[in-house]
Subunit: 150 residues, 2 copies
DNA sequence: ATTAATGCAAACGGTTTGCACTACT
DNA sequence: AGTAGTGCAAACCGTTTGCATTAAT
């Protein structure tokens, strides 16, 4: 299959990277990568599947999950856990981030490096090495606190 | 059904608390509460189910989950999320705690109040109110770091 | 031609539901 | 007697698997 269409790096070269490992570049993987390239931060497997289907109705769950596994081996995504308990994939150049999740409105924000480091530092004394990409902090965002003071 | 057998508070009075709300005290709920009273920290629904079955083989999933919902309304348990992504129930007088989870050996430790507060403080400036009982930090514990330096 | 990847369908695990039945109050 | 709670079975959701088929190399 042809090289993936003019996507920003690191996505443009995914096909080549896969081939270099004896793996293959397919129409379905192109669809998955296309969606991921337009995703900032994080996405669940189910969400990714749904969005891929809009692009290419033939994409099935197994393909999405197998492709995610392949991309994870390339270091292009990392899996972590969202507040809902669902598995989540961190996407983008900076996959090393956690999430701030509002319990009320469901919106999410990434946790910046400084704060992730601050959290990691808290547990360093215990000899515990924090995986920054797995940090999920749940609570109420400013807007929701203002909206309903219950 | 009879009052629950000499359990430490707050479990001993669960039956009365339920009845006061027009709800009922049953053999199955006694089994669930019995297990919870012997649980420190946290437990998943599935785990709780398994342990209840050892006590009373007739306990079925729906009963466990419905009972957990009832107990949550009484404030005796709170649900949060474990590192595996599974729903987890925080048990005990101090339900306000997060978890430190070792990715490698699977062991968990509670996060103390001071550290939970420190984490909450990090996001206070953003106007974000952290739910301390939902905090789960994943990484590698001291022992596993020592064991395999990969 | 080789063999990685796909599509399907079935199975998984944990959880939730509808409903007739049981048993607490 | 009234009705909350139960047990069952089926459905749910997201994810994973086996296997025959397709298609990238």
């Amino acid at each position: 299959m042809a090289r993936s269409a003019s996507l920003p790096e690191p996505w443009a070269s995914v096909g080549d990277q896969l081939r270099a490992r004896g793996q293959r570049w397919t129409r379905q993987r192109d669809a998955v990568v296309g969606v991921l390239s337009r995703t900032q931060g994080h996405i669940t497997g189910a969400e990714l599947l749904a969005r891929c289907r809009q692009v290419d109705a033939s994409v099935v769950p197994s393909t999405v999950y197998r492709t995610l596994a392949a991309l994870e081996e390339l270091g292009l995504v990392r899996h972590g856990h969202g507040a809902s308990g669902r598995e989540e994939f961190h996407v983008g150049a900076d996959t090393e981030h956690g999430h701030l999740h509002c319990d009320s409105c469901g919106r999410q924000w990434e946790i910046g490096k400084e704060k992730a480091d601050a959290i990691a530092a808290l547990f360093q004394a215990d000899g515990f090495q924090v995986d920054r990409s797995h940090v999920t902090i749940v609570g109420r965002c400013r807007d929701c606190l203002r909206a309903r003071k219950d």
